[in-house]
Protein backbone atom coordinates (compact mmCIF):
# COMPACT_ATOMS: atom_id res chain seq x y z
CA UNK A 1 0.00 0.00 0.00
CA UNK A 2 1.25 3.51 -0.73
CA UNK A 3 2.43 5.38 2.31
CA UNK A 4 0.18 8.26 1.32
CA UNK A 5 -3.25 7.43 -0.04
CA UNK A 6 -3.37 10.54 -2.20
CA UNK A 7 -1.57 10.13 -5.48
CA UNK A 8 0.43 13.18 -6.57
CA UNK A 9 -0.66 15.57 -9.29
CA UNK A 10 0.68 14.94 -12.77
CA UNK A 11 2.73 18.16 -12.62
CA UNK A 12 4.55 16.91 -9.54
CA UNK A 13 5.45 13.68 -11.28
CA UNK A 14 6.43 15.57 -14.42
CA UNK A 15 8.95 17.56 -12.42
CA UNK A 16 10.57 14.34 -11.23
CA UNK A 17 10.44 12.81 -14.71
CA UNK A 18 12.17 15.94 -16.01
CA UNK A 19 15.01 15.52 -13.55
CA UNK A 20 13.95 17.38 -10.38
CA UNK A 21 14.67 15.68 -7.10
CA UNK A 22 11.64 13.95 -5.61
CA UNK A 23 10.59 14.98 -2.11
CA UNK A 24 10.88 12.43 0.67
CA UNK A 25 7.10 12.18 0.79
CA UNK A 26 6.88 11.55 -2.95
CA UNK A 27 9.64 8.94 -2.85
CA UNK A 28 7.77 7.10 -0.09
CA UNK A 29 4.58 7.25 -2.11
CA UNK A 30 6.28 5.98 -5.26
CA UNK A 31 7.82 3.12 -3.35
CA UNK A 32 4.37 1.87 -2.46
CA UNK A 33 2.31 2.86 -5.49
CA UNK A 34 2.88 0.90 -8.74
CA UNK A 35 0.32 3.05 -10.54
CA UNK A 36 2.31 6.21 -9.90
CA UNK A 37 5.55 4.48 -10.83
CA UNK A 38 3.90 3.63 -14.14
CA UNK A 39 2.70 7.23 -14.54
CA UNK A 40 6.23 8.43 -13.86
CA UNK A 41 7.68 6.00 -16.39
CA UNK A 42 5.23 7.16 -19.03
CA UNK A 43 6.09 10.80 -18.42
CA UNK A 44 9.80 10.03 -18.66
CA UNK A 45 9.19 8.19 -21.91
CA UNK A 46 7.13 11.11 -23.24
CA UNK A 47 9.96 13.52 -22.47
CA UNK A 48 12.51 11.23 -24.11
CA UNK A 49 10.34 10.99 -27.20
CA UNK A 50 9.87 14.76 -27.37
CA UNK A 51 13.61 15.32 -27.15
CA UNK A 52 14.23 12.70 -29.79
CA UNK A 53 11.83 14.30 -32.26
CA UNK A 54 12.48 17.95 -31.44
CA UNK A 55 15.99 18.16 -30.05
CA UNK A 56 16.79 21.64 -28.81
CA UNK A 57 13.25 22.94 -29.17
CA UNK A 58 10.48 23.15 -31.69
CA UNK A 59 11.10 25.41 -34.67
Amino acid sequence: MPSSLTCPEEAELLAVAAGEEASHKLRRHLAGCPLCRERLGKLAADIAMLKQVSPGGFA
Partner: protein
Protein backbone atom coordinates in the same frame (compact mmCIF):
# COMPACT_ATOMS: atom_id res chain seq x y z
CA UNK B 1 -16.27 1.74 -58.34
CA UNK B 2 -13.88 4.55 -57.66
CA UNK B 3 -13.76 7.05 -60.45
CA UNK B 4 -10.52 8.80 -61.09
CA UNK B 5 -10.62 12.02 -63.03
CA UNK B 6 -7.15 13.32 -63.39
CA UNK B 7 -7.91 16.34 -65.53
CA UNK B 8 -5.72 18.17 -68.04
CA UNK B 9 -3.48 15.89 -69.98
CA UNK B 10 -3.61 13.10 -67.46
CA UNK B 11 -5.30 9.82 -68.21
CA UNK B 12 -8.72 8.84 -67.12
CA UNK B 13 -9.16 5.50 -65.46
CA UNK B 14 -11.08 3.57 -62.92
CA UNK B 15 -10.24 1.36 -60.01
CA UNK B 16 -12.52 -1.29 -58.70
CA UNK B 17 -12.37 -2.27 -55.10
CA UNK B 18 -13.00 -5.95 -54.44
CA UNK B 19 -14.73 -5.28 -51.13
CA UNK B 20 -17.68 -2.99 -50.55
CA UNK B 21 -17.16 -0.84 -53.63
CA UNK B 22 -17.68 2.83 -52.90
CA UNK B 23 -17.70 5.73 -55.26
CA UNK B 24 -15.24 8.47 -54.56
CA UNK B 25 -14.09 11.78 -55.92
CA UNK B 26 -10.49 12.73 -56.32
CA UNK B 27 -9.41 16.35 -56.24
CA UNK B 28 -6.28 17.85 -57.69
CA UNK B 29 -4.73 21.08 -56.53
CA UNK B 30 -4.25 23.72 -59.25
CA UNK B 31 -0.62 22.76 -59.65
CA UNK B 32 -1.75 19.23 -60.44
CA UNK B 33 0.60 17.65 -57.91
CA UNK B 34 -1.44 17.12 -54.78
CA UNK B 35 -4.65 15.23 -54.62
CA UNK B 36 -7.19 14.29 -52.05
CA UNK B 37 -9.65 11.46 -52.21
CA UNK B 38 -13.07 11.93 -50.74
CA UNK B 39 -15.97 9.52 -50.69
CA UNK B 40 -18.56 10.57 -53.23
CA UNK B 41 -21.07 11.70 -50.66
CA UNK B 42 -18.81 14.16 -48.88
CA UNK B 43 -18.40 17.87 -49.58
CA UNK B 44 -15.33 18.87 -51.53
CA UNK B 45 -12.43 20.74 -50.02
CA UNK B 46 -12.11 24.45 -50.75
CA UNK B 47 -13.70 24.48 -54.18
CA UNK B 48 -11.93 27.70 -55.17
CA UNK B 49 -8.60 25.96 -55.07
CA UNK B 50 -9.31 22.37 -55.84
CA UNK B 51 -10.44 20.81 -59.09
CA UNK B 52 -13.47 18.65 -58.48
CA UNK B 53 -13.75 15.49 -60.50
CA UNK B 54 -17.28 14.43 -59.73
CA UNK B 55 -19.96 14.71 -57.13
CA UNK B 56 -23.64 14.22 -57.20
CA UNK B 57 -25.01 14.39 -53.70
CA UNK B 58 -24.24 17.43 -51.56
CA UNK B 59 -23.80 16.67 -47.89
CA UNK B 60 -22.84 18.72 -44.93
CA UNK B 61 -19.82 17.78 -42.90
CA UNK B 62 -20.30 16.72 -39.32
CA UNK B 63 -19.17 18.87 -36.44
CA UNK B 64 -18.50 15.83 -34.32
CA UNK B 65 -14.87 15.76 -33.28
CA UNK B 66 -13.82 12.24 -34.05
CA UNK B 67 -10.30 10.92 -33.89
CA UNK B 68 -8.70 11.21 -37.28
CA UNK B 69 -8.76 7.46 -37.79
CA UNK B 70 -12.38 7.16 -36.67
CA UNK B 71 -13.19 10.13 -38.87
CA UNK B 72 -11.64 8.44 -41.90
CA UNK B 73 -13.55 5.24 -41.13
CA UNK B 74 -16.78 7.24 -40.87
CA UNK B 75 -15.96 9.34 -43.93
CA UNK B 76 -15.85 12.65 -42.09
CA UNK B 77 -14.76 15.24 -44.67
CA UNK B 78 -12.67 17.36 -42.32
CA UNK B 79 -10.90 14.30 -40.99
CA UNK B 80 -10.18 13.12 -44.54
CA UNK B 81 -8.49 16.43 -45.24
CA UNK B 82 -6.43 16.19 -42.05
CA UNK B 83 -5.59 12.61 -42.89
CA UNK B 84 -4.37 13.59 -46.33
CA UNK B 85 -2.29 16.48 -44.98
CA UNK B 86 -0.59 14.23 -42.45
CA UNK B 87 -0.23 10.93 -44.24
CA UNK B 88 0.79 12.12 -47.71
CA UNK B 89 4.18 13.42 -46.44
CA UNK B 90 4.65 10.29 -44.31
CA UNK B 91 4.04 8.03 -47.29
CA UNK B 92 6.18 10.22 -49.54
CA UNK B 93 9.12 10.11 -47.13
CA UNK B 94 8.79 6.36 -46.75
CA UNK B 95 8.59 5.75 -50.49
CA UNK B 96 11.45 8.11 -51.32
CA UNK B 97 13.56 6.25 -48.76
CA UNK B 98 12.72 3.08 -50.65
CA UNK B 99 14.28 4.60 -53.78
CA UNK B 100 11.24 5.88 -55.65
CA UNK B 101 11.43 9.09 -57.64
CA UNK B 102 9.08 11.86 -56.52
CA UNK B 103 6.70 11.31 -59.43
CA UNK B 104 6.65 7.56 -58.79
CA UNK B 105 6.00 8.18 -55.11
CA UNK B 106 3.02 10.38 -56.04
CA UNK B 107 1.56 7.58 -58.15
CA UNK B 108 2.05 5.01 -55.41
CA UNK B 109 0.53 7.33 -52.80
CA UNK B 110 -2.52 7.70 -55.00
CA UNK B 111 -2.77 3.90 -55.25
CA UNK B 112 -2.37 3.58 -51.46
CA UNK B 113 -5.20 6.05 -50.87
CA UNK B 114 -7.47 4.28 -53.34
CA UNK B 115 -6.74 0.92 -51.66
CA UNK B 116 -7.27 2.46 -48.25
CA UNK B 117 -10.60 3.84 -49.32
CA UNK B 118 -11.73 0.41 -50.43
CA UNK B 119 -10.52 -1.37 -47.31
CA UNK B 120 -11.16 1.15 -44.55
CA UNK B 121 -14.30 -0.69 -43.46
CA UNK B 122 -12.17 -3.74 -42.66
CA UNK B 123 -9.83 -1.92 -40.28
CA UNK B 124 -10.24 -3.14 -36.72
CA UNK B 125 -8.33 -1.07 -34.17
CA UNK B 126 -8.58 -3.84 -31.60
CA UNK B 127 -6.40 -6.04 -33.80
CA UNK B 128 -3.60 -3.66 -34.74
CA UNK B 129 -2.55 -0.03 -34.75
CA UNK B 130 -3.66 2.02 -37.72
CA UNK B 131 -0.02 2.76 -38.41
CA UNK B 132 0.69 -0.97 -38.85
CA UNK B 133 -2.41 -1.50 -40.95
CA UNK B 134 -1.49 1.37 -43.26
CA UNK B 135 2.08 0.14 -43.49
CA UNK B 136 0.79 -3.19 -44.80
CA UNK B 137 -1.25 -1.43 -47.45
CA UNK B 138 1.72 0.76 -48.39
CA UNK B 139 4.03 -2.24 -48.56
CA UNK B 140 1.63 -4.21 -50.78
CA UNK B 141 1.11 -1.21 -53.01
CA UNK B 142 4.86 -0.80 -53.30
CA UNK B 143 5.18 -4.45 -54.28
CA UNK B 144 2.47 -4.00 -56.92
CA UNK B 145 4.37 -0.99 -58.21
CA UNK B 146 7.62 -2.96 -58.31
CA UNK B 147 5.89 -5.70 -60.30
CA UNK B 148 4.63 -3.19 -62.83
CA UNK B 149 8.01 -1.53 -63.01
CA UNK B 150 9.76 -4.89 -63.47
CA UNK B 151 7.54 -5.78 -66.37
CA UNK B 152 8.19 -2.42 -68.02
CA UNK B 153 11.88 -2.07 -67.45
CA UNK B 154 14.09 -5.14 -67.30
CA UNK B 155 17.13 -3.01 -66.60
CA UNK B 156 15.77 -2.21 -63.18
CA UNK B 157 15.24 -5.83 -62.28
CA UNK B 158 17.67 -5.67 -59.40
CA UNK B 159 15.68 -3.01 -57.60
CA UNK B 160 12.38 -4.67 -58.41
CA UNK B 161 13.59 -8.06 -57.19
CA UNK B 162 14.59 -6.49 -53.89
CA UNK B 163 11.13 -5.00 -53.49
CA UNK B 164 9.33 -8.17 -54.57
CA UNK B 165 11.24 -10.60 -52.39
CA UNK B 166 12.01 -8.88 -49.14
CA UNK B 167 13.55 -11.13 -46.52
CA UNK B 168 11.97 -11.13 -43.05
CA UNK B 169 14.75 -8.85 -41.84
CA UNK B 170 14.06 -6.44 -44.74
CA UNK B 171 10.41 -6.30 -43.76
CA UNK B 172 11.26 -5.66 -40.14
CA UNK B 173 13.67 -2.92 -41.20
CA UNK B 174 11.08 -1.35 -43.48
CA UNK B 175 8.42 -1.39 -40.80
CA UNK B 176 10.81 0.07 -38.24
CA UNK B 177 11.65 2.85 -40.68
CA UNK B 178 7.96 3.42 -41.33
CA UNK B 179 7.30 3.63 -37.58
CA UNK B 180 10.01 6.22 -37.07
CA UNK B 181 8.71 8.39 -39.91
CA UNK B 182 5.12 8.00 -38.74
CA UNK B 183 5.79 8.76 -35.10
CA UNK B 184 7.97 11.78 -35.80
CA UNK B 185 5.47 13.23 -38.25
CA UNK B 186 2.48 12.74 -35.94
CA UNK B 187 4.31 14.19 -32.97
CA UNK B 188 5.51 17.22 -34.92
CA UNK B 189 1.97 17.74 -36.18
CA UNK B 190 0.68 17.51 -32.61
CA UNK B 191 3.25 20.06 -31.45
CA UNK B 192 2.20 22.48 -34.20
CA UNK B 193 -1.50 22.04 -33.41
CA UNK B 194 -1.06 22.48 -29.68
CA UNK B 195 1.29 25.45 -29.96
CA UNK B 196 -1.48 27.27 -31.84
CA UNK B 197 -4.00 26.41 -29.11
CA UNK B 198 -2.21 27.37 -25.92
CA UNK B 199 -0.94 30.65 -24.48
CA UNK B 200 2.59 31.70 -25.29
CA UNK B 201 3.47 31.43 -21.61
CA UNK B 202 2.19 27.86 -21.33
CA UNK B 203 4.02 26.91 -24.51
CA UNK B 204 7.23 28.54 -23.27
CA UNK B 205 7.06 26.49 -20.06
CA UNK B 206 6.63 23.29 -22.06
CA UNK B 207 9.24 24.04 -24.70
CA UNK B 208 11.94 25.45 -22.47
CA UNK B 209 11.60 22.82 -19.77
CA UNK B 210 10.82 19.62 -21.68
CA UNK B 211 12.34 20.20 -25.11
CA UNK B 212 15.25 22.50 -24.32
CA UNK B 213 15.86 21.06 -20.85
CA UNK B 214 16.33 24.44 -19.19
CA UNK B 215 16.02 24.65 -15.38
CA UNK B 216 12.49 25.33 -14.15
CA UNK B 217 13.69 28.07 -11.79
CA UNK B 218 15.31 29.98 -14.66
CA UNK B 219 12.15 29.70 -16.80
CA UNK B 220 10.00 30.75 -13.85
CA UNK B 221 12.13 33.87 -13.32
CA UNK B 222 11.89 34.87 -16.96
CA UNK B 223 8.14 34.32 -17.11
CA UNK B 224 7.48 35.71 -13.62
CA UNK B 225 5.96 32.45 -12.43
CA UNK B 226 6.40 30.13 -9.50
CA UNK B 227 8.63 27.16 -10.43
CA UNK B 228 5.72 24.80 -9.78
CA UNK B 229 3.64 26.73 -12.34
CA UNK B 230 6.23 25.87 -14.99
CA UNK B 231 5.41 22.20 -14.51
CA UNK B 232 1.66 22.79 -14.26
CA UNK B 233 1.76 24.60 -17.62
CA UNK B 234 4.10 22.06 -19.19
CA UNK B 235 1.84 19.29 -17.98
CA UNK B 236 -1.25 20.86 -19.56
CA UNK B 237 0.53 21.24 -22.87
CA UNK B 238 1.85 17.69 -22.72
CA UNK B 239 -1.67 16.35 -22.14
CA UNK B 240 -2.89 18.22 -25.22
CA UNK B 241 0.00 16.85 -27.28
CA UNK B 242 -0.87 13.34 -26.13
CA UNK B 243 -4.50 13.83 -27.04
CA UNK B 244 -3.63 14.93 -30.58
CA UNK B 245 -1.31 11.92 -30.91
CA UNK B 246 -4.17 9.72 -29.73
CA UNK B 247 -6.29 11.01 -32.58
CA UNK B 248 -3.83 9.32 -34.89
CA UNK B 249 -3.76 6.17 -32.79
CA UNK B 250 -0.18 7.01 -31.89
CA UNK B 251 0.74 6.60 -28.25
CA UNK B 252 4.15 8.19 -28.27
CA UNK B 253 5.55 6.95 -25.01
CA UNK B 254 4.28 3.38 -25.31
CA UNK B 255 5.80 3.14 -28.74
CA UNK B 256 9.03 4.53 -27.38
CA UNK B 257 9.05 2.07 -24.51
CA UNK B 258 8.53 -0.85 -26.87
CA UNK B 259 11.49 0.39 -28.92
CA UNK B 260 13.58 0.54 -25.78
CA UNK B 261 12.57 -2.97 -24.82
CA UNK B 262 13.77 -4.16 -28.24
CA UNK B 263 17.08 -2.51 -27.46
CA UNK B 264 16.94 0.14 -30.20
Amino acid sequence: MITLQTGGTRERGSVTSSRKPRAARIFFAPDGRDLIILPEDLPCPNSHHWQVSAGRRPMSSTNTQLSVIDGVCRQDAQRWREFDAIYRPILRAFLRNRGLRDSEASDVIQDVFVKLLGKIDTYDRTKCRFRTWLFTIAQHTLIDHARRRASHDKALQGWAAEMLKPTPSDSVKMEAEWTVIHRAKILKHALRVVRAQVSSKAWACFEHRLLKDRPAAEIARELKLEPNAVYVNACRVLKLVRSVCDEFDEDMSHAFESDMSRGS
